[in-house]
Symmetry: C2
């Protein structure tokens, strides 16, 4: 079959399954999630085999170690997938929640009901565990899903797709509620993101190149973030212990995550006292520092930051440091060079904390906390499909609620407009 | 200046003003709204003159009576604009509202803060009063705005733009926070909807042709609805008085509005008893009826509905009537032929009411109330910029909240990830 026609078939099947999955009871959805977990557990050896094929092909294609690592399904990763399915089953069902029903002077009572978005397309790289993560969140939120993983993970994904179908069938739900694209033809992505008649929203997960391409070419809304250029601003009224702990944690807790600090801003009045200690702490942890001229007057041995550094997401043990004259300069720097992801101020000053909270235009704005907290689990969403730096629809970590919409509901007693 | 360059200039100015308007105090925004009202009041005669020019040019161009009527600024319409500005000034400011701050096990406290979207582009037809409506809502919600009204209203809009600038200046806000496109070149619209770097969302208001074009060509999110094909379903368990009142009101209260009923669905068990009475009521009000075969067995003299009728928004005293065998058939018809706008069931049966509420996939779903209630004023939003039938971002009547987003805020006390 021609790839366009194949994608249209998947789209039609998804659109048709969307109605059934939107109406599915909480019980049936949870039953499906647990049955998928059971199927994965039972198919563990078949999964290893499929994954071994992917790994072998990946090595033959010369994939680098990092990509091969992400592709691999270890025992621990399979356990995590199974555990994740159980966790999503325990989350409250967002669908059907009615809120805010208020009487109006006309006599009608008006509020909102949470409803699924419809069909969600997920595009991701060769990480088979994302197949299960994404499928479980979309299923629980009552959406049909079309999953398109990286071509190197095709055998693993096909095996996982079989487990998903088994689970859906066990709960009496349509097997087409979750479909995995079973072709590695790249044209499949191009079609998936340009079928507004079948797909309501696209969530790209992966590298910047992928997300840029999807955003540019999509004809449906995209929930995404491109970069995570996060900042910590150490204010002159900061508590020194909190300041140093947060700065070190935000950079060094993990290097490859989008909520990791990439630029540290320090108020000039505390820079002389705190930067030497920070410099030592970072040096001990193997972090390369790049500073503005003022920073290098204090930390003489570090490299100079170039203009490009302020706009770079290192995803590596590298940190740029800039000394600022005021909170206004800090906010200006963040709004100009940041990626509207996550930024934190460390301060004990109420008015400055409030100013930062209000004026920093990012999906998460923090006071006295590490930027590393910006994720769905830490925020209590239970899980997340990704973090959005857009303002339309969902902003910040996107959990089950972010995969839904709200319609108005009106309770009347025969009221008419007069 | 070349029109593309002109639009880029407006875009740059809007983007730059957006920061100031997002941070503006409630007091300053209200001051601006009232000062715009004052300016309009003072410029009443100049407004009439400008509008007379538009009307004269419109007549010379051969505009029809309906278009000329919408174009005209009567005394009453100017009063309504002034009153509208005062009303928006009294609405609560959505910006900065912090909600749902909850402690997490890590010690951080997480919630959301409501923030403006940024720059909103409004594209509308030659109705100068929309200029003020849209400007006031965008201003109150902290957004910068670029307004592009129909070319026939250019003189009126330029005069209103001057009043808006006067008001903004009186409150110390940037005059570029609200800009009216002062060229009638149609290429301006094409540019406005394809500048994601300057415009965050587009709200098209007007006829289907305009909205279809904008949706198709826009490179930024669009808040819109295309059609209002609304239904009332008279269930067999309906109270007859409520049923007849709601059916008549939903069709005849106003014919040209998007929340007017276009198709009436009647359960077969009550059709014989109720349709003759309904037929008389509609005939007395001059409504042309078009029925399915079963309906015409009861109302012999009416026209047959063709397949196209079920998909038509008449915006006129015409109603299609279909007899259905069950609520399932009614819901199936609505989800297939409706426009996901507003649909109402009349019933006294709890379980069927609940089924309708859950399964009808529309932006407003009602029980025992006229579809005519679907608007921002009746829902208590204070005002609306339009009604969205999309599921992404805002659904149903879009008020001040719909022109905002929510960012996460985190209050910590030095917490780090471990």
């Amino acid at each position: 079959m021609d790839v366009n026609q194949y994608m249209i078939t998947l789209g039609e099947q998804a659109r048709s399954a969307a109605t059934a999955i939107a109406r599915a009871s909480t019980q049936d959805k949870n039953k499906a999630l647990l049955a998928i977990a059971d199927a994965i557990s039972q198919q563990r050896s078949a999964l290893y085999q499929a994954n071994a094929t992917d790994l072998e092909n990946g090595r033959a294609k010369g994939l680098d170690a990092a990509l091969l690592d992400r592709l691999e399904l270890t025992d621990a990763r399979i356990d995590t997938m199974i555990e994740g399915l159980h966790q999503v089953a325990t989350l409250p069902d967002p669908v059907g929640e009615i809120t805010n029903m208020k009487y109006r002077p006309s006599g009608i009572q008006v509020g909102k009901m949470r409803v699924p978005l419809g069909v969600i397309g997920i595009i991701y790289e060769s990480r088979p565990n994302v197949t299960i993560e994404a499928a479980s969140l979309c299923l629980k939120s009552g959406n049909a899903t079309i999953l398109r993983g990286g071509s190197e993970s095709i055998a693993s994904n096909q095996m996982l797709a079989a487990c998903i179908r088994t689970g859906l069938a066990a709960a009496g739900l349509p097997e087409t509620a979750v479909q995995v694209v079973e072709t590695t033809d790249r044209a499949a992505v191009g079609k998936l993101i340009t079928m507004p008649e079948f797909v309501d929203v696209i969530v790209p997960r992966g590298g910047k190149g992928l997300i840029e391409r999807v955003s540019k070419e999509a004809r449906v809304p995209v929930i995404k973030h491109l970069d995570g250029i996060c900042h910590v601003y150490l204010d002159r009224f900061a508590d020194k212990t909190k300041a140093l702990n947060i700065a070190v944690n935000a950079k060094t807790h993990r290097y490859g995550t989008c909520n990791t600090m990439e630029t540290l801003l320090v108020h000039q009045q505390v820079a002389n006292e705190w930067l030497p200690e920070l410099g030592e702490a970072f040096a001990a942890l193997g972090v390369e520092l790049r500073g503005c001229d003022q920073t290098r007057d204090i930390l003489n041995s570090i490299h100079a930051a170039t203009a490009a550094d302020w706009d770079t997401e290192y995803l590596a043990p590298i940190l740029s440091i800039k000394i600022v004259a005021s909170i206004d300069d800090a906010i200006e720097h963040i709004n100009r060079h940041g990626s509207h992801h996550t930024d934190s101020i460390v301060t004990e000053n109420y008015t400055l904390a409030r100013q930062f909270l209000t004026e920093v235009d990012s999906s998460s704005v923090m006071i006295n906390a590490s930027t590393r907290f910006a994720d769905g689990f830490e925020y209590g969403l239970g899980a997340e499909i990704g973090i959005s730096t857009d303002k339309i629809h969902a902003r910040g970590p996107v959990g089950l609620d972010g995969l839904t919409s709200q319609k108005y509901v009106v309770f009347g007693n025969g009221e008419v407009r007069t």
